[in-house]
């Protein structure tokens, strides 16, 4: 008889029943107590605010010249200075944010959806399905992601859509491995077997029983996938492989790269924007992760 300490139990429910404590509420309470997660949330709000509400408050056309090129920040026309074409850096960063975040989020959704689909099927059914899908996953994992994406983009053209699909198509293996591990673990738990013996069909077991239990770590992975996709898009645009006519943070850095010694801000500021965004996302992701498995939280 293993020693099962049941310290968490309430008095016998026969007495005046205690209030139900929904696991989701427990999670939110734990998340709220974690300062770094809250800081992450605030930063994220600032980033989203500037990119989507920015133009309302700072209505400057990022594509037209406002002053001489390479004017340092603090000038009268452009608070954050101008780039190699004399365009307003602040307007550029606001405009660039939209493309970067859009591509990052969309690519993450693609990689998470593909990853969960492949991982869950492999993890749930096992056997030859698992072997085949894992072979495909392994195949994608040995190819350097950026190289493959670059090749795809050059072949199919550098538009926002192709970049998003290219990034999504190469970064799903990590999510697939995680989903597979979770499904394999949860599939063996007694309450899944109990549901099966109570007449549940495969679809019910996958989507109504196992997926909700597997969701928490997958949500964390999805968060990290958004951060990774943003960095990926920035890298592509920096190399000039992004969509040439939509401004994104990576593109701004790439365009001004050759003048970094005399106009450091043209390269530094967009980089800071990327950095803060990805930092915020990973802080929130960590917060969700810690709130989900309490033993880590107490450490």
């Amino acid at each position: 008889m293993t020693e099962t300490t049941s310290a968490r139990t309430t008095a016998a429910p026969e007495a005046t029943g205690p209030k139900p404590a929904h696991p989701a509420l427990e999670f939110l309470r734990a998340f709220a107590r974690n300062q770094s997660a809250i800081i992450g949330l605030i930063l994220l709000a600032i980033v989203l605010g500037t990119t989507f509400l920015g133009p309302v408050f700072y209505d400057v056309d990022p594509y037209s010249m406002v002053d001489m090129p390479f004017v340092a920040p603090g000038g009268d026309y452009a608070p954050l200075g101008t780039d190699y074409l004399g365009r307003d850096m602040l307007a550029g960063i606001i405009e660039g944010g939209r493309a970067t975040l859009a591509v990052g989020a969309a690519a993450a959704v693609i990689s998470v959806v593909i990853g969960i689909l492949i991982g869950s099927l492999a993890g749930y059914f096992g056997g030859w399905i698992d072997a085949a899908l894992m072979k495909v996953t392994e195949f994608f994992q040995i190819l350097p992601t950026l190289l493959l994406a670059m090749v795809l983009v050059t072949i199919f053209g550098a538009t926002l859509v192709t970049i998003t699909i290219a990034i999504g198509a190469v970064s799903w293996p990590q999510v697939a491995r995680l989903a597979r591990a979770e499904f394999m673990k949860i599939r063996k738990l007694d309450y899944v077997q109990a549901a099966r013996t109570a007449g549940a069909r495969d679809a019910y077991l996958i989507f109504r029983v196992i997926l909700p239990a597997a969701l928490p770590p997958l949500v964390v992975a999805a968060g990290l996938a958004v951060g990774a996709a943003i960095l990926f898009e920035a890298g592509m645009s920096f190399l000039g492989l992004g969509d040439p006519n939509t401004m994104s943070w990576g593109l701004i850095i790439g365009q001004n790269r050759n003048y970094l010694l005399d106009a450091w801000w043209t390269v530094t500021l967009p980089g800071v924007a990327i950095f803060i965004t990805v930092l915020a996302i990973s802080l929130v992701g960590d917060g969700i992760n810690d709130a989900l498995n309490p033993k880590l939280r107490r450490r």
Binding site: M1, T2, E3, T4, T5, S6, A7, R8, T9, A11, A12
Partner: protein
């Protein structure tokens, strides 16, 4: 025979962030050389905490808040960390419950036994290897030479527990604390391990503290018994005395709850024999009743039991119980 280990009025508390809740509330135990003390009780009543405080291995946020633990005249609670490390595995060692996870999966059996003699007795490679082999023979492991280079995952549960015992005994300790040593083992293997411990005890005069929830194990191994409930010792005394004439309602309840084998002629009456019950459950930490902690579950409880903490009442030779109604035991099932 004066005791080799004497725990007096041990108090342990846990800091749950909001406030400090008591886990052990004044537990006193005695261990005499060559004898086994059975510490019995349900999970969550503080058995393991008694052992871990003695070894100085309380998990973080648990702390000893009172009492003394005296090993051969030395109060372990006052000992400095360096001194405690000298004693652990040398004068006092411990065996744990889960043989599957208690050994390091990436080190050989030889390394894990030799390590403790190298550390405490300064033995070097060859000497330590010899002692490791000798210990494997002492714990009756089949073909010990082969097992020296084996890794834990290659051994069965029973064999791993024997390696644990070999490690614990390697430095001839005065005291061994065995925390549910056979709970995870099959019943035939459990019998072998208990027989081994008894034989080793006769050869080495080591005192054993056996922590278990199983009264059968106590009857098998123990010479003295201490029954713990919700952080207090509710009854203690010689094993025959306690098992034949339990003088605390909780001990009586445990005896009634344990299903027994009825063999041969007795098998006929087994079907009608009902199984006793103790209603309710062990109170969670921080919600111990103020007076007698067993009162909410006790059939004999009256107003005084709920109001005033019971004294320690003698109930036989060297046998005492923490109860107002030790004389009314027959009325309990």
């Amino acid at each position: 025979m004066d005791p080799v280990l004497e725990i007096t009025d041990l108090k342990v508390g846990v800091d749950t962030g909001r406030q400090v809740q008591s886990v052990l509330d004044g537990v006193s135990l005695k261990l005499t050389p060559g004898k086994t003390l059975g510490v019995v009780g349900e999970s969550g009543c503080g058995k393991s905490m008694t052992a871990l405080s003695t070894m100085g291995l309380l998990p973080d946020r648990f702390a000893v808040s009172g009492g003394s633990i005296n090993l051969m005249g030395e109060d372990l609670l006052a000992a400095k960390p360096a001194r405690m490390r000298e004693l652990r595995g040398n004068a006092i060692s411990m065996i744990f419950q889960e043989p599957m996870t208690a050994l390091n999966p990436v080190l050989t059996v030889e390394r894990q036994i030799a390590e403790v003699v190298e550390l405490h007795q300064g033995k070097t490679g060859a000497e330590a290897r010899e002692i490791a082999l000798e210990m494997l023979r002492a714990v009756q492991i089949p073909s010990p030479e082969d097992r020296l280079a084996a890794y834990p995952h290659e051994l069965s549960g029973g064999m791993r527990q024997r390696v644990m015992i070999a490690i614990a005994l390697a430095c001839r300790p005065k005291v061994i604390i065995a925390d549910e040593p056979t709970t995870a083992l099959d019943v035939t293997v459990q019998a072998q391990i208990f027989r081994l411990l008894r034989e080793l005890q006769e050869q080495t005069e080591t005192a054993i503290m056996l922590i278990t929830h199983d009264l059968g194990a106590v009857a098998e191994m123990a010479d003295e018994v201490a029954v713990l409930y919700a952080g207090k010792c509710v009854e203690s005394g010689p094993v025959r005395e306690i098992l034949s004439n339990p003088s605390h309602p909780y001990t009586r309840g445990l005896m009634a709850c344990t299903p027994r084998l009825r063999l041969g002629a007795a098998a006929a009456s087994a079907a009608e024999e009902g199984l006793g019950e103790i209603p309710g459950m062990v109170p969670p930490l921080g919600r111990f009743p103020k007076a007698c902690r067993f009162a909410p579950r006790c059939a004999l409880a009256d107003a005084r039991c709920h109001a005033e903490a019971p004294p320690l009442v003698p109930a036989g030779p060297d046998h005492s119980a923490l109860c107002w109604h030790t004389d009314k035991m027959e009325q309990v099932a």
